[in-house]
Structures are given as structure tokens and as C-alpha cells.
Point group: C2
Chain length 415, copies 2
Amino acid sequence: MSASDGLGAGEIDPPQRLLMGPGPANAHPRVLRAMSAQLLGQFDPEFTDYMNETMALYRQVFQTQNRQTFLIDGTARAAIEAALISVLAPGDVCLVASHGRFGALLTEIAERCGAVVHVVSAPWGEVVPMAKLAEAAAAVKPRLIACVHGDTSTTMAQPLEGLGEVARQCGALSFVDATATLAGMPTPVDAWGADIVSAGLQKCLGGPSGIAPITISDRAAEHIFSRRHVELGLAAGGPSGNGPRIASNYFDLAMIMDYWSERRLNHHTESTTLLYGARECARLVLAEGLEARFARHAAAGRAMTAGVEAMGLTVYGDRAHKMTNVTGVYIPEGVDGERVRARMRVDFGIEIGSSFGPLHGKIWRLGAMGYNCTKPNVLNTLGALEAVLRTEGVALPSGQAVDAALAVFGSGIAA
Amino acid sequence: MSASDGLGAGEIDPPQRLLMGPGPANAHPRVLRAMSAQLLGQFDPEFTDYMNETMALYRQVFQTQNRQTFLIDGTARAAIEAALISVLAPGDVCLVASHGRFGALLTEIAERCGAVVHVVSAPWGEVVPMAKLAEAAAAVKPRLIACVHGDTSTTMAQPLEGLGEVARQCGALSFVDATATLAGMPTPVDAWGADIVSAGLQKCLGGPSGIAPITISDRAAEHIFSRRHVELGLAAGGPSGNGPRIASNYFDLAMIMDYWSERRLNHHTESTTLLYGARECARLVLAEGLEARFARHAAAGRAMTAGVEAMGLTVYGDRAHKMTNVTGVYIPEGVDGERVRARMRVDFGIEIGSSFGPLHGKIWRLGAMGYNCTKPNVLNTLGALEAVLRTEGVALPSGQAVDAALAVFGSGIAA
């Protein structure tokens, strides 16, 4: 702490850190600059234009035609909770496809909504076969099928082709948590037939956490609007609507859709700063092009994987379903994983990830996401990791990791 | 929309606006700059130091010794919902003191929590006598007494002296929504004896909305921890805790307190950018000094009031309980209030507020908050309003408004 100004806390001056864990990644400087723009009133026509533009941009990012595509003012899990609590009334059945920590989070949130939760689990490091999900859906007839696309806790990406059909066949809606994959791996919302998909900015979008893009199909919106109750302070003559109210005001998507509609019905005060940031993230993604961006993440993932294997380390999990933007690596026998992370941070200024639950102390997680998903960052991370492991007494083939990664990328300089 | 880059949305470039409504106000440039700093990982020691410093700074801003003083990642109403849902189990009695739209919001949120809500109302433009609240508390024996300090919908500030005693006498906890007053009017949390007090940055703190300071007494924390359940994905062997879970994961203050404690139990990913902003807001407040800041808001409120009265307009509500930082003004007979607001915005670049519910179309709300609470801003707003009203055909004593306000402030230039 700096006490120079007598407040016990000096000016914000974060150390240089390259964030190569499972997220947050560093924000793109253009996003940081956009967030330093001055505020506007939330109903200023210039601001509502920014809101409408943001909706249009995120429709492209989500690869959807959904009119209801906007932002939730909170972190990625805020959007998950908004989706679940707005769809699920107490007693509704929710079927969760779980393949890691964030699948457990869906269960946790759905249970807190009062839903009856059935879980189809894959062992950590694997994914849930769609046939198994379909079978469970036919059996339990859920109101909602909830899935995680990329679960960073295991580095696995759940295949979601056919999700919409499975849901429609049993009369369910579907939800996908795409926090860790949106703008890094293909998340074709309409092609999946997914009804609600949400994300965060702090992974492949190159922004900060704190605001969460979400997209909602017309049929999901219709279901949510059937639960609509206008807020007590706004409705003339008491609350409107039929049946029990959605059990949250802040996360009531019917209200939030009214706020983002031309009705502009007052709800929260939109976070101007983070909307500016989210809008700039989307502009950057679309200027690069989705396909190019997915290819960039895929190349970095291949290079990271090749690098750690060349070092003699073992990659975690089912390779056929590995996320491109994060790589799990087993901590070698006898190595103190946390000390390696500390050396990476202190000596090289690079953050890599530890892990949760059953993988705690067993794997590191190396990310290359969004703004950080570049050749230099992958090469420097591999070089630093090799040097740290050598310092820690691990016998390694020197220089192989960087060479292997470079072979994947190719050099930018002609031989 | 700018289509210059083919995305249908150009670079963020908000028009110059002086936000002199009931909030948001313009952010202090130092806050905007702080938010453009690069991100850190949420468990980086440098970042957790920033978190701890932010807690210490907000203890001073809230005038409290409460250890549990931190930020909620969401707008001001997110913190309100976190407080209510973490304290109130379904069936618990909540007593709400309501004197405007935000009192109705407390009722709305408490009802959605499943609480049995009793309301002690004051007519709009007045406040709730503490004796009346005490009487109701003794009668209904609430789990929680919930109040709004400054309700911008009516511009009234509810006196809260004795709140803690009233609550303790009936075994209740107390909550205060200080969104519109924190750092603008005295909000002595410990002197009130209030158990939970929350706010937002976008009023008197000079920051953006999107993150919300909150402070929680030890006894309230103890009650909330008695409802603690560690998250499914984190607890070994399933969820811990006794009794029904708090009906929200995102707003479970027991989890959020664990996240902000030295345990650093993973919950959401803290919004680095908005934490930087909130921290800078607090640094600015404390560098100015609370008393000086309250005096600045009081002077601006007196000047604004004197100005509009000199113009021949009528100030709304009970003058004995008027908030210093926002002034309600009756729209003169025959004047189109929205056209006046549009002229203020378009011709003068100044935003003033309309109003809600029973006051819709009846009053404007003129704010002078945080960074915008200055002599020039008050004088220019009054001058612009006078000019616009003249254009709209209102007979006014020319020049009197600015002169009256200037007489309150005094000129900074010797005669």
C-alpha cells in the first residue's frame, strides 16, 4: 500500500502482468480506452443508440437473429442466474449436462431457483454425449436443459449440435453458458437451436468482467414474458402480471427486455462504462472476423499443446473435445504447482491458472484468449514455464517447447 | 450510427453532456482514467491488496468500523437485492419505510424474496416519522426493517437517527439504501446503528453505475453466515450448511464475504475495471474530506433552490427534509416539460431529470452531485433553464435565477 497521500491507498498502478490462465485475460487497449469515455444519461438518445448498436453487434458475435440480445449488468454468472431464474419457476424440472465445475454451478443456481434438478454428468475431462442428454430429457421432461459449452475447470468443450432438437422434442427450452468460448470457439446459437446463451467479456472477448452478453430466442422470450410483472413503483395501480413473480427483481429478464426495448421501462441504471467496453469488444471481434478469430485461438491452442508435450509434460483430458483457448497440463510428480505459479508471476510477470475440486493441485491451466491469444505470448509463456521447471529441478529437454510451438505457428520472418 | 468501419457502429465518442438530473452524474476524470488501467488476475496479490484497500477506504466513506465493507458487482439495486435476499428467508417479516419510488422497490424486492412485507408509507414529498416506524416495528416484529435514505423520486431524505435502536428493540436487523446520498449527505452508518447500508457510484461518488459499495455489521454478518452454504462446485462432498439455501447464488452475501475475506473462496470474477473506479471514487472523497464534501453539496442545493425560486418556480416537497443534492421543481402550468428537457439537452448540452409515478409530468429534478456539484454547473444550469423557459413563452424575471444562486455561493472574484 502507498500511504503517500495520507489515504493508505495510492493511485491505481497495476504491475505488468500477462494473464495466461483460464481468464480473465488482459483487456484490449482499445477496450480500456473506450471505458475511459465520459458517461451519458441512460435515456439520452445518444446512449440508447449505443445500446441498440450493442444489441446489433452481439447478434453477429452470437451468430443469431435473436432480437433479444443485450447485456446483463453483472459478471458472467449474473447472466446465468438471470436466465435460470427467469425461466424456472419453483418446482420446474431442470436437466443439467455437467462436465465440470461450471456444470455444478448450473445445478447450484437451478436448485436455488427452487427447480427440481436432474444431472447428466460426464467424468471430469470428458463431455456428455448428446444421446445421453436426449435420453434423460425424454425421461424427465424438463422445462429447461442447461449446459456449459467450454468448462474451463476441465478444459473440455461440450458438443452442442442437436441441442435445440433435443429440447424441442421434449417441450423444453435450452440454455448454454458460453462464457469461456464466445468469440474464441464457434458458438453458433441459431445453428445449435439454443434458446438462451450467455457469456462474459473476460475470456475470448478481450474485456473486463462485470457485464455479460446474453441472447434469447423468441420462444424463450415468450415464456419469460408470460411471467412478466411490471415493477411496483412503475405500474399504475399495483403490480401487473399473472401467477407468482419471478423470484428476483434484478435478474427478471422480462423487465430487462422491457428496459432494452423501445419501451425503455426503467429498471437498473445501465453501466455506461462497461457497455462502452462490451461494445468495443464486439467491434474488435467483428473487425477481425469470427472465422479468423476462431482460427487464431485454434492455432494458439495447437501450439501451446505441442509446446508442453515437447517439454515432456502431459496434457489433461479428452483431446477430441479440448477447448482451443485453454490447455490443462499435469503438474509433474514432486513439483510444487503453486511455487511454479508464483515464480511465473514474480520472475516472468506471467499468470497461469491453478485448478478446482478434483483437479486441485494436479493440473495447471494455460490459457491463450482474446487479446492475449498471440504467437509471442504463447512462446514466452512456454519459455518461461520451461525455465521455471528447470529451476525447480525438473529434467527437461531444453528449448524443445518453444521450438515445437514455433513449428506450429511458423516464423513470421523468412528463413 | 457510424458505418465508417463497416460494422454499423463507430468508435465510442459520446457528446459533451452535463448531467444535472437525479443521477447518473458525470464521472470524475480521475475515475475514468483509473478504469483504463490494465486488468489483473482476481487472486493476484496485487489485486487482493487493491480489494483490501478498497474495503478500508469505504469504511471511511460509510463512517463505519464494519469489517464487512466491500463491493457488489452490479448496479445499486443489485446491492439492495443482495442485502434483502441474504437476510430474508421466505416467510420472514420485512418492515419497509417507504416515501417514494425506491421505497416501493424495497417492497417489490422483499416480496420477491418471499418475505411478508408491511409498509409504513409517507405521502410523496414527505418522510416517515421514526416514531411511526417504531410503532409498526413493535407491532409486526420484523426480521428486517428496510429504509431508503434519499429517495430521488421525491427528493426527500428520510431521517434515520434512532433506526438501530428501533431495530434492536424488536430484535430486527436494519437496511438502508443510501444510493443517492453516500458521499453527498451524511450517512453515519455506525451512528445510525444501521446493520446494512448500500449505495452506487453514479450519484455523489462521481463514478459510473455497475458496482455497488455495501457495509454489513457484525450482527448482520452473523445472521447471514448462519444461512451459509458453500457452493456445490467448491465444497468437498456436496453443499455444506444447514437449512434452506439463500435463494440466489450471485447475491449470496455469505459467499461474497468469503470471497472478500482472506479465505478468497472463489465466487464471481471481480470486475477489475469497476473496482479500480470505485477505489478512485473513495480516494477522491476522502482527499476532499467528508465534511467539506457534504458542505459542497449543501451549498449547491441552497443555490439551486434559491435560483429556481428567484425564477418564480416552486420547489417540490417538504423543505425540512429535502435532499441537498437534488431539487424537485414544479413544471409551470401550460409548459411541456419534456420539450424543455429536450431543449436543455440539445441547445445547452445539459441533462435534467423528469419524474416517475404520481409526479410524472409534474416536476423536473435538478441534481448537483459529486463531480458535477460545482458553482459553475449550478449557475449554467439555472441560466440555461431560464433561457429555455423564456423561449417556451414563460414570463420570467430575467437574470434573477443566476444572481440569486451567485448570492448564495458568493463570487470567487473580489468585488
